[in-house]
Amino acid sequence: MAKSARDPGRMLVSVVMLFFFSAFILIACKDSPLEWEGFALAAAVPAMLWIGAMVLPRLFPADKLLLTLTNFLCALGVLILYSTNHERGLQQAVYYGCGIPCMLICILLVRWIKNRWKWPVRLLLPVSLALLTLPLIIGRETNGARNWFYIGGLSVQPSEMVKLSLLLILSHYMSRRRMLPWLFFSVCCLGLLMLQKDLGTALIYYAATLFLFYASTSNLPLTLLGLGGGAGAAVLGYKLFAHVKVRVAVWLNPWSDYENAGFQIVQALMAIASGGLFGMGLGLGEPRVIPVYYTDMIFAVICEQFGIIFGLCVLLIYVALIWRGFTIAMSARYSFHGLLAMGCTVVIAVQTFVIIGGVIKLIPLTGVTMPFVSYGGTSLVSSLCLVGLLQGVASLNEDDLREDARLAAMGEEPGI
């Protein structure tokens, strides 16, 4: 009893486990005959959460709270997808299982390489640009954007992977005060994303670059200039791309063309409204009516099934995760680690804001995934890798604190 009072994580992890156990049991009872997969998930997901939040931090240096919140969001994605489409749910669980080792690799990579990123970054720069060029050569256009390519039946979105290298490259060169390499890389990435018409990802890249620039230089005039440049590019995009005009028009008044262009946003709003405060119930409602409900519109499905109160809770969990990320960034001792943690946090924050803001009609809708929750292997694995980088910085911070305590103890000895 005393131990649980001391450890703030134990109760949180227990409540999260209880949540998923009851939810998967409920969804398994929906169909007749009863679905054994649902019962298996009811046992496996809480077990994974326990291992992830309580056992892994003993083996790997990791931040427990960050791990718990990330696992909660990932498991929520599996639950929602399983409740709407069993196959997708199981596939997402597999992606989740693949993402955890990737996250651990990222933790170890940050701890192992520490500040010696010069050659890895030099290697990453051309490889990332080549990866980002691939969809333009061998990719196929999906939903108006040419940001995917296919290898052996497996679809890959390189912009999700390049996101990680963007952060590493920006953090490295900005911490070394070398402006030209990161500026070149950012401009190339943004140009390639514009050519792919992947404006949502371009927005995330741009926001991360601008934020990191301000964080590393504190140069407000240049940051404002960059912000103005971004606004100018947005206006240019509005003038050049027809689908941007349509999205803005739909954002302003989705009911003007609710059967065609505005159908998705109207259905999302109706789903949120029909959910009410407490939701229609897990597995109930009509989420499949919403186009791409499993990726872009998954927040509407959460609100429909669990209600607006739970939707707000999910938002607050993102806020807690972002808060934690900023705390880790502010505690970093080296500017590279601080910028890296800041970049990871900003990417998660901007992506969450862009997609949830789009779903609730706060801003025009852009095609990005909801971090950790939306269906998609590349997105989930890259989000978990972001958390891995963040965890790596957090563990280095812990090492530094321990070192400080050791040095302070040396300084306390008599005669020094």
Binding site: P8, G9, L12, V15, V16, L18, F19, S22, A23, L26, C29, K30, D31, S32, L34, L65, T68, L69, F72, S175, R177, S218, L277, F278, G279, M280, G281, L282, G283, L284, F306, G307, I309, F310, C313, V314, L316, I317, A320, W323, R324, T327, S331, R333, Y334, S335, D400, L401, E403, D404, A405, R406, L407, A408, M410, G411, E412, P414, G415, I416
Partner: protein
């Protein structure tokens, strides 16, 4: 399960899930708050956390009197702007004058900003040139300011530095300086204790005689060397320096 029964169950469970969601959020923020309190407590206990040493002002300005101790983080920017990690408001020091980066076991690497230069132990260091390397006791000249770097115990040497028996404490006694003491400068940190002769044989013997003095600006000579007899630098003409502020009180003292 019949669909009617499932609907009733699912609608009832919606309240349960909302309740659990609120608990999860509440516990998460409670955890964040608790960690924040813990971190603040640690910072209070370790005021030197994140610092590797300090820069002693040997020659400053009216805004930066001699003897001032500037905390030295592991990495950052030195300049006259208030936002810099180490602020040196002296004539000739640019807003952002140079960047520095400490590598344990090596020293402090100095890279001047564009069109800026600095002197490390009398050697000029320029932008895009070979970075300057400072050791414990090295002198840095930026503009009209002159600073001496002092590292904390256990920082610059290997982390496995052996803690030795402390020598008996004795009252400081006046000592005769060696004839060439002006020429001697600290160029390399050889040991973590002052009695381990970091300054060569002659001065080592000199330092043996006066191992302790109170901490703070009063404990150092004008060049910032611990226990050394005060001496005056030939600094450019400037106003008379104001009295040095008292040192910041710390719970731990990690100074050498």
């Amino acid at each position: 399960m019949p669909s009617e029964l499932y609907e009733i169950l699912a609608q009832g469970a919606a309240y349960w899930f909302a309740f659990l969601g609120v608990i999860i959020v509440w516990r998460s923020f409670a955890w964040l708050r608790k960690d924040g309190r813990l971190r603040r407590k640690r910072v209070r206990q370790l005021p030197d956390a994140g610092l590797v040493g300090e820069l002693v002002v040997l020659c400053g300005s009216s805004e930066l009197p001699e003897g001032t101790l500037l905390p030295l983080p592991k990495e950052g920017v030195l300049g006259s702007y208030r936002g810099c990690d180490v602020t040196v408001p002296c004539p000739g020091v640019a807003g952002k004058h140079l960047t520095f980066r400490f590598e344990n076991g090596k020293g402090l690497f100095i890279e001047p900003w564009v069109r800026q230069e600095a002197l490390v132990d009398g050697e000029p260091v320029v932008h895009q040139g070979r970075p300057g390397l400072m050791y414990h006791g090295s002198r840095l000249q930026v503009g009209e300011a002159m600073l001496r770097m002092r590292l904390f115990v256990g920082v610059s040497t290997a982390r496995s530095a052996v803690v030795q028996e402390d020598p008996p404490v004795q009252e400081p006694v006046p000592v005769a300086l060696p004839s060439d003491w002006r020429e001697q400068t600290l160029t390399h940190h050889q040991a973590i204790r002052p009695w381990q002769e970091p300054y060569g044989e002659d001065e080592g013997a000199f330092r043996e005689a006066e191992p302790y003095a109170p901490y703070g600006p009063d404990a150092y000579g004008e060049d910032g060397i611990y226990g050394e007899e005060p001496r005056r630098f030939e600094a450019p003409s400037r106003e008379a320096p104001a009295e040095a502020p008292p040192p910041k009180r710390r719970l731990f003292s990690r100074r050498r």
